[in-house]
Symmetry: C2
Subunit: 343 residues, 2 copies
């Protein structure tokens, strides 16, 4: 079969990983790109979003979204450009964000529910920001912090994974809300970035010493809101420093995603009792109808320079398996994206 | 020194226990009872309340209430009768409930903040009910379930420690609120009591088999509210069965109070994320201004026979150390009280 498009390349899930995903867990696959049918589009993927949550989608079992099936193209958010369209919704040259999957081309109905493409405005922010502050991580931060964490001006907000996509925006939004903001991140470079570039009040390097002592120093008034992206020992350390009626937002637990033993539950959870505090989970999809509100606020702050969208761009589609591991090795500074192609 | 009263007997804290409290952790002490000064009263203790929380008060370290000091009379709720009064608030013969401590006589100011005596009406309910359904355990159940758990009619409420003081009332109140109620308790006798006497829809015997399989059977619609008195593996099992937007009330963790290793945190806490669920701690004292509301509702239900106050009365003041252990050995059916004296 021949058509107007170069061959598609994909990473499909070959096996469910045990611990960190290995090369053998992926199937590199080539196939032709289908011409669009009536109502269909073809999207050329320019950037892929690499997210900790992807590790969870590779596991079997009930979660907030169905697992990726064995043999299926790996699920991923992506940003691309429409290169063929038989849909009135999109025209050739439009920039779109959506669930492209880990492949060079996406083809199908413009109304595909899983892909859920939306047109983005590249004049409002650079394309990669649409996978970051104006995309899922930004929406997660914005609604998770505001709706579940409910910080009040003057309160102390602590966020882990502070140099990562979600944490970065959580802290910056909390600053906009008049809070004292303390990040937790791994390594001096990240902490310097978080304080120097993002304007957090302080950042704790969890690799440099005990987190609970550092929390005592940097949160002299205790912790009112903790936005948790990492779980494990850091969650336990924060639990020892929470205030009465504190709110803990459970957004992720990257420290536990590749564990081959049982997940480490928070041994200090009885601090919730002592402090009449709350721990609550959130999933960004619940706020989908309100994304425009989040995008508008964040784009406004970005325009005035008070919120920064920082992406860590790594290149080369064929490097996807290694690029994904950068997240779990803590090698990204800001939102990790994989550049697939030029527009 | 001689006066009108027989000598007082007390159990004081001799040492902070490691694991289960031993006889050597207690100091049995005799002293004279002071004549009341102006504004003072003397209370003869009739019943002492034995509660799992007492174990926590014996530990050092920050909690929701200060630890009992070494050498201090052990803190306990009690019910007694006023036998001497120089206070206008109480007259001889009044029944009072409050923080008497583990002793035969309490003497001091009628306005003592720690004792916080309130007059009770023995015509409304038998005296022991004032240490149970109309006392702290009842208030804990009533406000914890309604204010933190927020069950709605038709929802499924699960409560652990179902045959204990708090759990017993949680389940009965949830039934009054139109919920399906499933208890968790240890042993056939307790489960028979919970279903047969208290009217729960079902009761899971955690000693008889895996709790999560039993939850699947008895909560076919999943779990909307879990009122946790026990922590440990049962909390983990319930976390696998919660519904979207479920509420978990953290009231206690009796399985962990005597552990000499680290507390077992809930390994399945990420179920909170998947289900956008909440885990929240509660301490009954926060609701003190609203106790009259709780007492009125519960007394009303008791009068009409729809809520039962069941006490497990064990006798003998000098048996206090052994009687307390009955809680941790799971030997009580209903609220455990120690009878100290006849009126």
């Amino acid at each position: 079969m021949t058509n107007a498009f170069p061959p598609n390349q994909q990473f499909r899930l070959a096996a469910r990983p045990v611990g960190l995903p290995r090369r053998e867990d992926w199937l590199f696959h080539e196939e032709a790109v289908a011409e669009p049918a009536e109502g269909g589009i073809v999207v050329k993927v320019l950037y892929l979003s690499l997210d900790p949550a992807m590790r969870g989608w590779m596991n079997e079992g009930k979660s907030y979204i169905r697992p990726v099936a064995i043999g299926e193209v790996m699920r991923a958010g992506g940003l691309g450009i429409v290169i063929a369209s038989k849909s009135p919704r999109f025209k050739v040259g439009d920039y779109v964000a959506g669930g492209t999957g880990v492949q060079r081309y996406w083809a199908g109905s413009a109304d595909d529910k899983a892909a859920a493409f939306t047109k983005i405005d590249p004049s409002l922010a650079p394309p990669t920001a649409w996978l970051n502050t104006l995309g899922m991580p930004g929406m997660t931060a914005f609604f998770g912090l505001r709706e579940v964490g409910q910080p009040k001006p003057g309160e102390t907000v602590v966020v882990s994974g502070a140099a990562g996509a979600v944490g970065m925006t959580v802290g910056q939004v909390a600053r906009q809300m008049g809070c004292r903001v303390v990040g937790i991140a791994g390594g001096e470079d990240k902490c310097r970035f978080v304080v120097g570039q993002l304007g957090f009040d302080a950042c704790i390097d969890y690799k440099a010493g005990p987190v609970h002592a550092a929390l005592k120093e940097h949160c002299p008034q205790g912790v009112d809101v903790y936005f948790d992206n990492v779980g494990g020992e850091i969650l336990d350390a924060v639990l020892t420093r929470i205030n009465m009626k504190a709110r803990i937002v459970i957004c992720g637990a990257i420290s536990q995603y590749n564990t081959t033993s049982q997940v480490k539950g928070p041994a200090n959870y009885l601090s919730l009792l002592v402090n009449r505090a709350r721990m609550e989970g959130m999933v960004v999809f619940d706020y989908a109808p309100r994304y425009p509100e989040g995008v508008a606020m964040l784009a406004g702050w970005m325009r005035e320079g008070s919120v920064k969208s920082v992406e860590h761009v790594t290149e080369g589609f064929e490097r996807f398996p290694e690029a994904l591991l950068m997240l779990f090795e803590g090698r990204n500074l800001g939102k990790l994206v994989l550049k697939v192609a030029d527009a």
